[in-house]
Amino acid sequence: MVDVQLSDAEKTYIIHGAQDNLREDGRGCEDYRHLEIETSVVSTTSGSAKIRLANTEILVGVKVELGETSPENPDKGRIEFFVDCSANATPEFEGRGGEDLANEISNMLARAYDCPSCLDMRKLCVVEGKKCWIVYVDVLLLECGGSLFDASSIAVKAALYNTSIPRLTVTHDEGHTELELSDDPYDVQRLDVYNSPCIVTLSKIGHSHVVDASQKEEACCLARLMLAVTDKGCVTAMKKEGSGSFDVSSIEDMLETGKKVGQSLNKSLMEVLVSEDRNMKKKYMTGYLR
């Protein structure tokens, strides 16, 4: 990730601040930075969302394609994640430079969504054992400002909420199966993302932990714990990252905080998405032109 170089004095300032629940930008330990979400930004996709979390900018496009079902799950559709770290974010990502980070993010997202209650994959099956919808979730990282995992998971959830899948009617005729696409472009099926998880990254700074670390804070943190938390407080994936280590009790503390923060994050995200969906027709300036 992008290098931020801090002196020892600056690090001490940040660590002491986190202990007193007052961070360098005035937030408390469990507060997120300002977050902006916009959906339906790219018209070549089935659903898209753009998110800006302070300096982090992420664009997610969802495309659905009709494909073969997998032999292991003949009655389910599939979801596939792909992350691309654009060189726009930092020149280090040029060529294949961003691939490691991209794989890490896409694996974490895939694990977070690999849980039957997150997204009902059975609804994506068209003809059992033959055809299903494959949902391609493409995450494009345009600017790095910390909390990439959190921001991408939020953007993915928003884009999935925005996704509309064309409705198909299946008719069986003497052994042949025919698929018919509805003529009405508004006759679509929406995904139920109510139980989809958001990733909350807790960074250990000194003896306390903070959510949504800025780049400066990431530079002082040796270990972080990532939790994929659903609206009900279920943790669907968990991952420790970084060179430092945790003791058992601090993981328990972090789990508590993560669940609490994750639940409120999911709740406010859904509120925003629903209200934006209602006001869709009012917007006239979109994307980067605002």
Binding site: S43, E57, A87, N88, E94, Y288, L289
Partner: protein, 246 residues
Amino acid sequence: MAGIELLSDQGFRVDGRKANELRRIQCRLGVFTQADGSAYIEQGNTKILAAVYGPHEIRGSRSKALHDKVLVNCQYSMATFSTGERKRRPRGDRKSKEMTMHLQQTFDAAILTSLYPRSQIDIFVEVLQSDGGNYCASVNAATLALIDAGIPLKDYVCACSASFVNDKPIMDISYLEESSGGAELIVATLPKSEQIVFLEMNSRLHEDNLSHVLDMAVKGCKDIHDVLDQAVREHVGEVAAISGLE
């Protein structure tokens, strides 16, 4: 392409434009804070982001450094969801590599390269949504980003495409017009001096018509220049007002 009339008898194209009309251009400079310069452009449904980093030290192997001028390094990538059909990878395919090379040549000709010997300027272009004229929009976006970064240029670089339908040249063609099999002429110019820095033609076109199509494309570049220039002036005005220069 059978069935689709690219230019009607009344002189209108499929999207309702006249033959010599550009698509709507909307742009913004300085969309990102981390990059030294950045810009976003929409030409019709083609949406492109460009970021410029530099001039800075040569990254990677020092042997790439040029002793008498700056190294212009470009990367063109398309978001996997930018096209109608999903792309497998955002860059590294032959088309993107060719596009990268073309951008590099174009900007090598436009940047005052001798001012920064042994350094490097990065131009990164990201196509968010593509609807024809990707090269043109990329060049226009990159020009704005270079201006935002304050890199000395000979002039704006403006690119425009043109085609030839029903014995008439048409300006700034969309994906539909591009893929209908007609000729496609892409030109990048320095509009003030009317110098052509990049020229490419696909498919075939009768020699007699070439000058008409070329004139149309150059006219398009001039029109684009006016739009970009206005955007730059507005942006600089805003920045000056914010920093209290007035």
